[in-house]
Each structure stands twice: as C-alpha cells, then as structure tokens.
C-alpha cells in the first residue's frame, strides 16, 4: 500500500512534521493495551514453568553421578532430536542440562506467541476493517506495521525478562540465565520477522499465521536433524535453523553471545523485506493472489462444509504428526545401538527397556500434537458461532446437535486417523531401520493407545464450548497443562499430573497393555462430549 503524498501544504493546524511513522506511538500503546493481559499470562506461565522445571531437574539430578547418567541418556539420537546440541555432556551440570534439555521447550512457545502476535497486529486489523479507520487518521503508512512489530517484541522481551527474574531464584549462574533468556528472545524475534514477511505474502490473516507456524516447524526439524548428525552445533543443518543459532550460544557452559548476532541480523533483514513487500501490496490483500471460486456449489451438508473449512488444517496437522512418527522411526536403530553401547542402562533403569521407554514418550508426543489439533477444531466451531455463520446455518433446518456433532466427530476421526497413520509410519520406518518387522504392531499400538487421551481433551473442549463458551481460553490452558504433564510429568512434583489423562493410560510399548484406563478414558471423553452437546442444545447462541 503506497500513499501518494500530495504537494499541497499541510494545513496550519497540523503540528509538527509528518512521516511514514506518524502515529506509531499511539498505535503501539493501543496494541499493548489490547495485549497487556495476554503478555502478563504468557510471561508468568513461561517463567513459572521454567523455574519449576529447573527446580525439579535440580531435585531429580542433585548429584554429579546422577547428572552423568542423565548425560548418557540424553546423548541418544532420539533424545537429542527433542532436546539440543549437547554442550557440556562431559561435565553435565544443572546449567548444562537446562540449556540442553529445557531451553528449546521455552523457545518454542515463545516463538509461537511471537508469530501469533505479529499476525494479530499486522493482518487481523486489515481483515476486520479496523486498519482502514486507523489509516484514515493522520497515520503514516508504516506506523501500523512498526507498532505491531514493536508490540510483539515488547511481549517477547517481557516473557524473557520475567523468566530471567524467575531463574534468579534458582541455583543457576545468572550470567548463563541471562544468555539463555536472550537466546529465547532472539529466536522469537527471528520468527516474528519471518511472520511479518508471511503477513505480506498471505492472502488473509489465518494463512499468515499458518505460514508462521510452519516456519517454526521447519526450523525445529532442521535443528533436530542437525543436532543428531553433528553434536555441539557442528552440522550445517543446525545453522540453517534459528533454534540452532539460539542453542549454539551454549548458556552455562560455553556462554557464547555471538550466535545471537545471526538472529538479530536475520530479524533486521526479514523486517526490511516485510516493509519492502508492504509497500507493494493493497490494503486487505496479500501478494499471493487468490483464484476465483466456482459459481455454483457442490457442498451438500454440514460435514462437507466442515471438511472444506478444516481440510487444510487437518492435512497440515496430519503431515506434522506423521512426519514426527517417521522421524522417530528412522532414529530407531540409532536409539537401539546407543542403548547397546551403554551397559549402565540396565543398572539405571532395572529391567525396563530404554528403547521402549523412548518410543512410549514419542508416542505421547504424537498424542499431544493430535489433541492440539482437536482443540483448534473445536475453537473453530466457537469462531463460527461468534462470527454469525453458526446462526446462518442454525436458522436453516439443521439441528444444533448435528451442527456441533458433525464438527466434533470430524475432529475426533481426523485426530484418530492421523495418530494411527503416524503409528503405522513410525512402525514401518522403525522396522526398516532395525530390520525387524515385529516392531510394527507395538508402535501402531503405542500411537493408538493415546487416542482415548486425545478424546478426553476433545471432550473437555466440547464441554466448555457447551457450558461456558466465553471461557474457551480455559481449554487452551488445559491443553498446555496436559501437554506439559504428558511430556515432563516425570520431573514435576508428584500429583501435579493428576488432571492429565496420559498419566493413567499405559505407556506402550514400555508398559504392558492395560484396558481399564483405556476404557475409562474413552467413557470420560464420551460423557464429556455428550454433556457438551446437551448443554449446547440448551443455551443461547452467542452473537
């Protein structure tokens, strides 16, 4: 969007010079005002979880011996793929452990927050028509973009600073904590910059945030591959990923600040590209143009409509879940070799099979992705209702239970199918890498046994939608809780994970199969969905 400045002199009432940045200050204040609670919640949640995790690691691995055995465990390729480049494994301290195993999982949510903030400030106001109103005021063309990016940066910095303050209460070296928090901030800024470019390319806000999320996924996979191929950031793959740059700082061990310069340069370049692109597009349109649709429709009903609306989301999430399954399967031989080389494992874990334990954890990770998808699907139902499209359909001879049921049913089926396919792919790739076809069935089973847990989370989402739709954000809090508990429940205080279905489900293939929790979780899920549907039938539709 370019403005053509007219040569007429500014009216006498205009105070001060005007530029492309005029109005940035008020717009930034507005954006921060809209975001203030979001920023507070993110900052406190991230800082709290980080501090609690550090303390738990400290409690669990309090002695050098325990830390050394932990280092052995975490240097397995499968663990490396989910952790980091493995600095300081020879002398594994609490700091080295935190930088290696925890830092990535602080970076990811903050990066997600940054991506969502950028599209929310850069594209959503265009779609709503708010930006038209803003731009009609004496506001420079670049001001909304600058204000939006600054608001996202302020949010990221607030999270980083709060986390740093929280870490001061732990035994960790403050200098290392400062570097780790700076690394978190920088990787989030890089992805915010990438998201700013995506916001110029995409045709609409939702596509822009999807592109930003895909960038996070690609960056994660690049560093996973890189860290497995070359420890301590020696692989080229690691250096292709912003996570790789931020993890190469090696807080608490090497304490290098220079890799952050790469991230800052990348951020600057992508923001500059975003500004250049912003000048080339029209308000409300992306640079990638949309094709016209068909003049007549073939959609027949609610299910068809839901599939049409959700298919991109379903297929992208399925691709992510299946890709993760394949990655784990391909690493199966590396995991097994690693275990065979480490006789201390038997002493450490008794009769347990560490390979099976690793697969059990990865299967739950697939489940976490699947219920995150399922929650977005129920969130989309809520968005349909609030937008008025729900009312348009429910003013037709369409039963409420059918409208909601079809969407929930599709989400449940899609989540189950993506898990089964991912389990099968994980089994097949593991069988291929190990030359052992007996691996296939247990791994399909391991993925399948997470389905009741996924359905429980889906049930909670439907229940909240039916009873208190205004509080739908609670569902996301529950999703974050279950995700953290499923992945890190072992290191967190006892009983903290009591509200997560995955606490009760058997951790296949490490544990023996146990039907009662599977049946119980399925029943809980069915009851929650039924209650949610019944409540939805009885309540007023939201306007």
């Amino acid at each position: 969007m370019t403005t053509t400045p007219t040569p007429t002199p500014a009216p006498a009432s205009t105070r001060g010079p005007t530029s492309a940045l005029t109005g940035t200050g008020p717009l930034l204040r507005l954006a921060l005002r809209a975001d203030r609670w979001r920023i507070v919640v993110w900052a406190l949640a991230v800082a709290w979880l980080t501090v609690v995790s550090v303390q738990s690691y400290d409690d669990l691995f309090g002695t050098p011996e325990l830390l050394a055995s932990r280092a052995t465990l975490i240097s397995s390729p499968a663990a490396t793929a989910m952790a980091g480049p493995g600095y300081g494994l020879d002398d594994y301290t609490l700091g080295a452990l935190v930088a290696n195993e925890l830092a990535l999982w602080v970076m990811i949510p903050v990066a997600i927050m940054a991506v969502l903030a950028v599209t929310r400030h850069l594209r959503q106001p265009e779609e709503d028509g708010r930006l038209e109103l803003v731009r009609s005021a004496p506001v420079g063309a670049a001001a909304p973009v600058v204000a939006g990016l600054l608001a996202a940066a302020v949010g990221v910095l607030a999270v980083g600073a709060t986390t740093f303050v929280g870490l001061l209460t732990t035994d960790l070296d403050p200098a290392g904590s400062a570097l780790m928090c700076a690394s978190v901030v920088v990787v989030a800024l890089v992805l915010a910059g990438a998201s700013a470019v995506a916001s110029q390319l995409a045709g609409h806000a939702r596509a822009a945030s999807s592109l930003g999320m895909a960038a996070i996924g690609v960056a994660f996979v690049l560093r996973a591959v890189g860290d497995v191929r070359g420890p301590q950031s020696t692989s080229v793959w690691t250096w292709l990923s912003p996570f790789g740059w931020s993890q190469a700082t090696a807080p608490y061990t090497e304490n290098r600040w220079w890799p952050l310069a790469i991230g800052l340069v990348a951020t600057t370049v992508s923001v500059a590209v975003a500004f250049a692109l912003a000048g080339r597009r029209d308000l409300g349109r992306g640079l990638l143009h949309e094709r016209p649709g068909r003049a007549t429709g073939r959609l027949r009903g609610v299910v068809g409509l839901t599939w049409r609306r959700q298919r991109t989301s379903i297929l992208s999430w399925a691709a992510a879940v299946v890709l993760c399954g394949a990655l784990v399967g391909l690493l199966a031989d590396a995991i097994t070799d690693f275990v065979a080389d480490q006789p201390t494992f038997d002493e450490l874990f008794g009769a347990g099979d560490p390979t099976a334990s690793a697969f059990a954890l990865y299967s739950v990770f697939l489940g976490v992705l699947a219920f995150a998808y399922a929650t977005t699907a129920v969130g989309a139902v809520h968005a349909e209702e609030v937008s008025g499209r729900g009312a348009t359909l429910l003013a037709l001879p369409v039963q409420r239970t059918r409208w909601l049921g079809a969407q929930v049913g599709l989400a449940a089926v899609a989540a189950a199918v993506m898990l089964l396919v991912a389990g099968l792919v994980m089994g097949l790739t593991a069988a291929a890498s190990l030359g052992d076809t007996s691996r296939i069935a247990p791994l399909v089973g391991a993925a399948a046994v997470t389905i009741p847990g996924v359905l429980c989370v889906l049930g909670v989402a439907v229940l909240v939608l039916g009873l208190v739709p205004r509080a739908f954000v609670v569902v996301w809090a529950y999703v974050a809780y279950v995700g953290v508990m499923a992945m890190f429940g072992d290191i967190l205080p006892d009983g903290a994970d009591a509200g997560s279905p995955f606490t009760y489900l058997p951790a296949l293939p490490a544990d023996p199969m146990s039907w009662p929790p599977v049946v119980a979780c399925t029943l809980v899920a069915l009851v929650a969905v039924a209650l949610g549907l019944a409540a939805f039938r009885r309540r007023d539709l939201q306007a």
Binding site: A295, T296, R298, G388, L393, A395, D540
Partner: protein
C-alpha cells in the same frame, strides 16, 4: 402453504422478556404478524429488533412470555419450522474460503433444495458475481448473497433483519420489487428496519419497538395518521397566517416572520392552500423521521392520538 395456516397469524409473541446480564433487551414485547402480510418492524438501533428475530429463530430462548411461529414453538420445533422459513441477517458473514455461489447452494441444500431458475434470476437481477470468495465481498454483496439464498428458497415466511444495509439505492429498489413479488406469491414477511421509507413502501402493518417494548402497532394508514410533516415557512403576514392555521396544525411557533408547525398528512393540502394568501417568502418542509415518531410516542399531549393496540 397449508390452507389452514392462511387465516392464522404467522407469528404471535406476547409479553416477551429477554435479559442479557443487567440489560433487558426485550421487556414485555408483543408482536402479531398475520399470515400473508408484509409486516414492518421498526425501531432505532439497540431497540431489540435483532433479539426478537433471534428468539423467533430459536437461536436464543426468551426468559418469559409466549411465542408461536407458524403454529409451532420456535425453540422446541426449530428444525421443523426452519424448513418453512428463510432468514436474512443485517450483517452477513460468509465463509471466507467459499465463493458466493457455493454459499448460496450450500444454504439451499441444507434447507432441502432451492429453485434453480429463481436462483439464476435473482443472481442476474442483483448483478451478483457468484465466483468471488466470501472474504472478498463488500458488505452490500454479502447482503446480496444472503438475499438470493433466502429469496430462492420455497418458504412460507421470510424473517429479514435490516436486510438492505449496505445496498445502494438501485439495489434497494430491486429489493423492494422482489419482496413485493414474494408477498404476491403469498409469503409472509417480517421486515425489520430503521428506515421508515422502506417500510412504508412495502408493509401493510407495522410494529414499532423501543427499549424492548412495543410502542405502536397498526396498519400503515393508522401509522400515517401519526406521521406529520414539519413545515417552516417565511411569511409577509405571519400573524394572519398564524390565526388561520391555528386549528389545523400542531406545535405552531412563530419567530420573526417565520412560522414553524407540524401538519398531518391529511391536512397538508388544506394547509398549503391557505398559505399563499399571507405572502410566502420561503418554504422548507421535511417529512417525519422515525425519531419524530418515537418522540411523539413519549409526548403526553399526543397520547390521545395513539392508535389503539390490537
């Protein structure tokens, strides 16, 4: 249309109350719409028009009061009743990735099919490009999509909530034409609006809502008896004119050779005929606005003129 319905009221609502937190959106509201009529539903923004229509659609449930729609309960029998009605919201949101044509056909199929000839005819007359994606339509074009979908359906009742918002004057005229055709086919129309002229052009009977209450209901003729034109006239002989008009007009005020008064539509001819004798120097007349009408509803001196409620 079932013959036994023809002589019944299509909509009967009595004593409706609906609260949203502390706000009483409907506060003892009454509405009767006879089968086959175009019923105007007038009120300022926030008066409770949309809330009423959402109650009639069974999207929300009234806290108190009785509602009957096409002989059924709009909350309990929602699905069965929706086969027989179509709804046009005032602010249409479409599926951003579906083209207008896809949205029209989806809505038609969910209702049990629409008349393809009527669809084609309406698309042509409204000059709607059906290949445009939902997110790319302007407000007026989104409105057209909803209008085509509703008017192409074979239904007994049309519930329209400020359906012409965003339409240009040409399309507004076309809208009036197609609603007249629908009424000619024997359909009942509840047309909510805050534009008096639109309702005057289409409706046989009118209900006026304000602050969740029915303030007026009656035929258009009855309503017109309440509508007055405000006239400001400059006169060389203002005092003489004042004496001559005093019995025929309302709110007569004089100010430095100018007279300002309100005059009933029925007395307009007589009053204007009387003016030239007193030397007219300027004349401004403006028609009654809906707001004037509401103001009148609350003006004690005019209570006597109120049309008895049905």
């Amino acid at each position: 249309m079932a013959p036994e319905q023809r002589f019944d009221d299509a909509i009967i609502a009595s004593e409706l109350v609906k609260t949203f937190g502390p706000k009483r959106a409907l506060d003892g509201f009454d509405l009767r719409v006879a089968t086959g009529e175009v019923h105007g539903f007038l009120g300022p923004n926030g008066a409770g028009k949309s809330t009423t229509i959402r109650v009639l659609l069974g999207l929300i449930r009234a806290d108190e009061g009785e509602v009957s729609l096409l002989g059924g309960d709009p909350w309990r029998d929602a699905v069965a009743l929706h086969r027989r009605l179509a709804y046009v919201p005032g602010d249409v949101t479409l599926w951003p990735t579906l083209s207008g044509g896809e949205s029209i056909d989806l809505l038609g199929r969910l209702r049990g099919g629409l008349d393809p000839r009527r669809r084609a005819d309406l698309v042509e007359r409204f000059e709607l490009d059906t290949t445009v994606k939902g997110r790319a339509y302007s407000k007026g074009n989104r409105q057209k999509v909803a209008l085509v979908a509703a008017l192409a359906a074979d239904v007994e009742l049309l519930l329209m909530d400020e359906p012409t918002s965003g339409l240009d004057p040409l399309m507004e005229a076309l809208f009036q034409e197609v609603v007249r055709e629908a009424a000619g086919d024997g359909r009942t129309v509840l047309l909510s609006s805050h534009i008096l002229a639109e309702v005057e052009a289409l409706a046989q009977r009118v209900t006026i809502i304000r602050a969740g209450r029915t303030v007026q209901t009656g035929t258009l003729a009855e309503l017109r008896s309440l509508t007055r034109t405000t006239v400001q006239v400059g006169l060389r002989d203002a005092d003489g004119a004042r004496a001559a008009l005093a019995e025929r007009v309302h709110d007569l005020r004089s100010d430095d050779g100018h007279l300002t008064f309100d005059v009933e539509a029925t007395a307009l001819d007589e009053v204007l005929a009387a003016l030239p004798a007193h030397g007219v120097t300027s004349l401004v007349a403006h028609p009654p606005t809906l707001e004037d009408l509401f103001l009148r509803q609350y003006s004690d001196e005019l209570d006597a003129l109120q049309v008895p409620e049905r």
